[in-house]
């Protein structure tokens, strides 16, 4: 094998990566492209790195590197995924070099951050990779020493032959191990033997974060790079008519102003190619501030876009979608939703005979819940670096789904996928927003047009008003009680703009004999997409508030009532396709009941709300305690119980749950994006209220159910039930039920925020 040198570029690297088997590889991080003198130490030392499976690289002097395959947006996969590899590889964690992997779905798996899937989908492949690599190193040692592999053991980056007293580092056998075909079916550890997994390890990028190192896409820079921004229409339903850039072009630093079509007419879009505006007015210049200033000098006329059509080929197949042209206003949207709610809807699930149950009911409880659009508001606004030349493209920045974005780039640039390189930086938040790769396509087209490396930056205003939002939702829940206050029928009818949120096969489906779920949708030109626990983030607010009210009407404790329903769902389930595991669901309720001292006298001083939910394969329950401070209900403490199976990195997992609780409280109390004539009424944080430190609880106690179930996901599940627990606690604090999000404005007045 030849000695690599610094001139080996990424293109060569990707080519050699594609070779079967081992092979010598040179690692590359975006930092090394960032600035001379910040080259990673290994690169400068011109180390020989031997690849032992796609995830592991080892030098002859026993430096061990583990690649994190999945984009990092704060869920801590840079640490937890390499931990999983290291567990099976048998290495000293403190000596491991962790690096973000390149975009390479052949070697590094699906590389998608979202759906609480990072740990869940990588759990088995990473364990197998770690175990296979350990076996390759053992075989390498066996060949070198000419000993039977069965007599060798691996521990902390060393290989031992006990009988002869021989030992050697992994590094000594790396070159030989790299030539051995990756073995399949190597036995994995039993959970009880984990040494690293289940033990808290600190964030491997912690030091870089607290010292302000260039980790994020917005920090990326290349020699000769220009800054680009897009002047968007002032409202959904509008488009660019004409512009005069004379004054803008006179501004210092400005190099170009032009019109750019994003997707050519008729282009088939993937399910995550959502974009809001197709005709872009682009301003390019030397520095961010100069471009910001020049935008103010543009003279632009906009016009109604009218009805448009998109061809979407997503998960549900290829279809033509008509995008309405109307300039929408929130109050009118609400009226329209009320109209739709009274019309016949699509039946999603029916068990028993709900019509008769409601006809015979002694009491019917009916409540309607509403929630507004929400903006993701990642702290790092959307941005991406692109350098597109005639025959290739380099893109660097923050995104959740490189594998979904590459085909889009290929389409808009007319380049084959293997000529497109995407490097993933740390993301300053994602929450679903960065699963939509339109901003990479924008950056790439701009770079292609100006023939230079370009960093596209959204201002906060661009980010907030040109979003891929959480949809606007509503749902009406009805319960039928007999004369003895038994629940005999349950009906949910939900709708939304432009999608409904109803999960027809989730609790309490399966626990009620007569059950009906229906839904409807209203098309819109306001763009929507995934937002932390899509749909669940509304359902858990509505359904869990309704169950609380129902328990009260039935004279039952809200936790006991849910447990009774779950018992029924477990012992004698109604219907088919119930998505949840009643035992795990009940488990988090029981745990939170115990840990919160639910029935204890000393906790009576709190206004307590409980809620639980299942989504994304995991289970979470919260008890939220409010107190009255200065005459206003104030959140004081939170108890959380989560069942996500094996917890890889417990302290970081707790941090994630704490964050989900804060995020949930913030959005439940304040989150709302409203529109007037198509224009977002909130464009920055002075109008879009975010939860701040003085509004947070004093204490959040996080408890995980201890079991040996393979990890089932954590980023999303704890988030939705927070909304319900907040609503239920506020009811106990104020004597008033809360049906419309956000709840905060109603605490001071009867005013609705949207």
């Amino acid at each position: 094998m030849s000695q690599p040198n610094n001139s080996v570029n990424r293109r060569t690297f990707l080519k050699s990566s594609a070779l079967a088997g081992g092979g010598l590889l040179l690692s590359f991080t975006f930092l090394s492209a960032f600035k001379k003198g910040e080259l990673s130490a290994d690169l400068e030392a011109e180390d020989q790195w031997y690849e032992i499976t796609g995830y592991i690289k080892i030098t002859p002097d026993n430096k061990i590197k583990i690649l994190n395959p999945n984009p990092e947006f704060g869920q801590n996969v840079m640490t937890s995924l390499p931990m999983i590899v290291a567990e099976e590889l048998e290495v000293d964690w403190t000596k491991i070099i962790v690096e973000m992997g390149p975009h390479d779905n052949v070697k590094l798996g699906p590389q998608f951050t979202g759906g609480s899937n990072s740990v869940r989908m990588y759990w088995k492949p990473l364990r197998e990779a770690g175990a296979a690599a350990r076996q390759m190193l053992l075989l390498g040692a066996a060949q070198t020493w000419n000993l039977p592999v069965e007599e060798l053991t691996a521990k902390a980056g060393m290989i031992y032959h006990e009988k002869s007293g021989k030992s050697g580092t992994y590094g000594e056998f790396a070159s030989r191990a790299a030539t051995i075909p990756i073995p399949k079916g190597v036995k994995l550890k039993e959970a009880k033997n984990f040494k690293l997994v289940r033990n808290s390890q600190k964030n491997v990028e912690g030091q870089k974060i607290v010292s302000g190192k260039p980790l994020f896409g917005i920090d990326y820079k290349q020699e000769g790079m220009l800054i680009a921004m897009i002047e968007h229409p002032p409202a959904f339903g509008m488009k660019l008519k004409s512009f005069d850039a004379t004054e803008a072009l006179k501004m210092p630093g400005i190099t170009d102003v032009f019109r750019q079509t994003l997707y050519e007419p008729g282009m088939e879009q993937g399910g995550f190619d959502t974009r809001t505006f197709n005709e872009l007015l682009v301003v390019v210049g030397k520095t961010t501030w100069e471009v910001m200033n020049a935008r103010k000098k543009l003279k632009v006329s906009w016009e109604p876009a009218g009805e448009t059509k998109d061809i979407i080929n997503g998960r549900t197949g290829k279809k033509e979608v008509v995008v309405p042209g109307k300039l929408e206003t929130t109050s009118e949207q609400r009226k329209l939703m009320q109209e739709y709610a009274n019309r016949p809807a699509q039946q999603l699930r029916k068990d028993g005979d709900p019509e008769t149950a409601f006809k015979n009911a002694a009491q019917i409880i009916e409540r309607t819940y509403n929630a507004p659009f929400l903006a993701h508001n990642c702290m790092e606004p959307m941005n991406f670096f692109a350098h597109v030349t005639a025959d290739k493209a380099l893109l660097v920045g923050p995104l959740q789904a490189p594998a979904w974005t590459e085909p889009l780039l290929s389409k808009v640039l007319g380049l084959p996928a293997d000529k497109i390189e995407i490097q993933m930086t740390r993301m300053g938040g994602g929450f679903g927003r960065r699963a939509y790769g339109h901003y990479l396509a924008e950056a790439a087209l701009i770079s292609k047009k100006v023939k230079a490396p370009v960093k596209l930056i959204y201002t906060r205003e661009d980010d907030m008003t040109y979003g891929i939002y959480r949809p606007m939702y509503t749902a009406t829940y009805r319960a039928a009680l007999d004369a003895n206050k038994n629940l005999i029928g349950f009906h949910v009818k939900g709708g939304g703009i432009p999608e409904h949120a109803i999960h027809a096969n989730r609790f309490p489906a399966g626990a009620v004999d007569n059950y009906l779920a229906e839904a409807w949708e209203i098309p819109s030109n306001i763009t929507i997409g995934a937002f932390r626990a899509p749909r669940s983030n509304f359902n858990a607010a509505a359904e869990q508030s309704f169950l609380d009210e129902l328990a009260e009407a039935m004279g039952k404790d809200p936790i006991d009532f849910r447990l009774e329903l779950l018992k029924r769902a477990k012992e004698n389930p109604v219907g088919k396709n119930n998505e949840y595991d009643a035992d795990r669901y009940a488990g988090v309720l029981q745990l939170v009941k115990e840990k919160s001292g639910w029935n204890k006298e000393e906790n009576k001083k709190y206004s307590r709300g409980v809620a639980a939910y299942f989504c994304h394969n995991s289970y979470a329950a919260h008890v939220i305690d409010f107190i009255n401070k200065d005459g206003k209900p104030t959140v004081e403490r939170v108890f959380s119980a989560v069942d996500c199976g094996i917890v890889v990195n417990p302290d970081a997992a707790s941090n994630m749950v704490e964050g989900a609780v804060i995020d949930g409280i913030g959005n439940a109390l304040y989150g709302a994006l409203t529109h007037k004539e198509g224009a977002a009424e909130q464009n920055n944080f002075h109008r879009y209220k975010m939860i701040r430190m003085n509004e947070t609880p004093r204490q959040i106690d996080v408890h995980f159910v201890q079991n040996d179930i393979d990890p089932t996901g954590l980023g999303e599940p704890p988030f939705p039930p927070v909304f319900g627990a907040v609503a239920n606690a506020l009811y106990r604090a104020t004597g008033k039920r809360y049906y419309d999000q956000p709840y905060g404005p109603q605490l001071n007045s009867a005013k609705r925020a949207f």
Binding site: E380, N684, R692
Partner: protein, 152 residues
């Protein structure tokens, strides 16, 4: 030409005096630890010290910083071992990490004035810094921990 003292280093820059200090730091000096979040002093991601006071660099014109002492996260301590940085690591505060440099700079200004702040002091001093991931409880605890380190 504007003369700036940033992290004890002098820079002479030919920039529009109205340019926000934030963009001078990020675009001209490659000091990217100071983050852009809102551009209107609403989120605190761009917090730096100007003569020891926490200011939002996104609304501080570079001309206002001339002749004053600017400290950014890169210069908070020579070895990145400020008690706050150590406390942040000890409690593994960060999730996405984007806001944390601004949080640390706000906290450092607080501790300089008030070496042992109460929860209420911390809440008041930190209310201008948004953390979208919701790490507020760990931030609060880390400030207490750093205050304790400073005492020892």
């Amino acid at each position: 030409m504007i003369s700036l003292t940033i992290n004890n280093k002098t820079y002479n820059l030919d920039v529009d005096p109205a340019t926000p200090l934030l963009w001078v730091l990020r675009d001209h000096l490659d000091l990217v630890g100071t983050k852009y979040g809102c551009g209107m002093a609403q989120c605190g991601a761009c917090t730096v010290h100007l003569n020891g006071e926490a200011v939002r660099s996104c609304v501080t014109r570079v001309s206002q910083a001339a002749g004053k002492k600017v400290v950014t996260i890169e210069g908070l301590s020579e070895t990145n071992e400020h008690p706050l940085q150590k406390a942040w690591l000890e409690l593994d505060v960060a999730q996405c990490g984007y806001c944390q440099t601004g949080q640390i700079m706000s906290a450092a200004a607080l501790l300089r004035k008030n070496s042992h702040p109460t929860d209420k002091d911390i809440d008041a001093a930190m209310a201008g810094n948004i953390c979208r991931c919701g790490t507020y409880l760990r931030i609060r605890e880390a400030i207490h921990l750093a205050a304790d380190m400073g005492k020892k």
